[in-house]
Subunit: 242 residues, 2 copies
DNA sequence: TTGACTTATATGTCTAGACATATAATCGTA
DNA sequence: TACGATTATATGTCTAGACATATAAGTCAA
């Protein structure tokens, strides 16, 4: 029980309260369902005002570590839906982070009126024009991933004049389009002839597929399919309490 | 510009302030790098005390939507590292959520002193005993995934006496072990003979592999490998602003 | 021009109150 | 016993101040 008389006050008080509680939850001392002390008890224990403990508890609640119920108190939440933060870095960043030489190659770029297939893929009823891009990323000259992308020009008009022969469309979008939402679908396929050639792997070799669909406030921006050699590439998702 | 005289006060004031700012960021009206109004300006605009706007801004900062810098002000953050929330549901929950019949089958359960390979897999220097479990999950009698798991008994002693013939080890752990951290590695392989038979797919068919390594405060709990038929199963990761 | 010092200022934290509101618990009644 | 009304209480929000602190910007000297 760390009391208010704890002299090491490098972190601020509310942060120490939050850390104290978090620690008890993480170590299992206060298991899921456990009622943590009432605010007025913490006020007494730490000798501070209620706003201070309230701030600590509010942050824990925002982080889904505890659940607050009026009149009842605050309770440790159980690890809910198993979820993880999947870090899907910009491919260029990912490769350079590995200390390998990044290579980019534009295979094709077509500007066209949206076909029925394009509309289906972008999930829009009617679209004007789209840009269809096919390109390849490599690490130290070795094929790393092939990308097949569609950009909705009605959402991102400036993409029509962007030069994708040198800058990958993913990087370009990241720097030119504000906050977005996205949905990723990860699956596995075996390489067909075309994929095998593009990735320089054997036909029938496993490939990891990431389909990413990106929009901003109900407006589709882009749909992309990334194909990685499945036995060499790995996606790492880190999960922490939740 | 919504002023303090806005009468629709169903949500509380600080939530409205937060929502107002969030909306401007999401729509791109305030692009990344834009300096949002100073606290004292928001105080004037909404006619409230500084603590109220501070709470709104603090939550936006905690959600990584804005960055606060002393003396400089608060700024809209740019979509940082592309990351996504990957929902990896408990398999039973996942299947029942799809409205399909869940089936579970324990293939083998062995209690043994940890071998060198076990220690390697669990990432521990020395371990006492472990439980090795192999099982299969099915949806409407069709194989859905095969699971190959190792539980460190020095961390979870009660797992030695748990009955895994009826309850899947994943569900059991979820309910008996408090907050954990985990790391997932996702990759693709092609089915070998044994896998093909277990999943009732063709040899050479693509499989999605999830390797999950779980620990609690630096203490390994379990390591599991899940194999899914890759062309039928999909992992969906949703990403929202950040 | 550059570096060191000073100052102004926006955020960070905190207080000691207040009233609002949802709801668990109690009490009373059918 | 079951149900409806009442009450007590923990959290939710808010105020009008306060002092602390990091730092951008300005000032001045080498």
């Amino acid at each position: 029980m760390s009391l208010a008389t704890d002299a090491s006050d490098k972190p601020t008080l509310y942060k120490r309260i939050r850390a104290d509680i978090e620690k008890r939850i993480l170590t299992g001392e206060w298991p899921p369902g456990h009622r943590i002390p009432f605010e007025h008890e913490l006020v007494a224990r730490y000798g501070c005002s209620r706003m201070t403990v309230n701030k600590a508890l509010s942050e824990l609640a925002q982080a889904d570590l505890i659940e607050r119920r009026r009149r009842a108190g605050s309770f440790v939440r159980r690890p809910q839906h198993q979820s993880a933060v999947l870090k899907i870095a910009d491919i260029r960043a990912e490769i350079t982070a590995l200390g390998r030489g990044y290579g980019y190659e534009l295979i094709s770029r077509k500007l066209r009126a949206a076909t029925a297939a394009d509309r289906e893929r972008l999930g829009v009823k009617k679209a004007g024009k789209v840009v269809a891009i096919s390109c390849r990323h490599s690490a130290d000259k070795v094929p790393f991933a092939v990308e097949d992308r569609l950009i909705d020009l009605s959402s991102v008009p400036s993409a029509a004049s962007a030069d994708f022969s040198r800058e990958p469309p993913g990087s370009w979008l990241l720097h030119h389009v504000p906050w977005t939402e996205a949905e990723h679908t990860i699956s596995a396929i075996v390489a067909d002839d075309r994929t095998a050639e593009a990735l320089d792997i054997a036909v029938g070799a496993p490939c990891l597929v990431i389909d990413r669909y990106t929009w901003r406030s109900a407006r589709t921006i882009t749909a992309v399919r990334l194909l990685y050699p499945g036995d060499s590439h790995r996606l790492v998702a880190r999960f922490k309490g939740g």
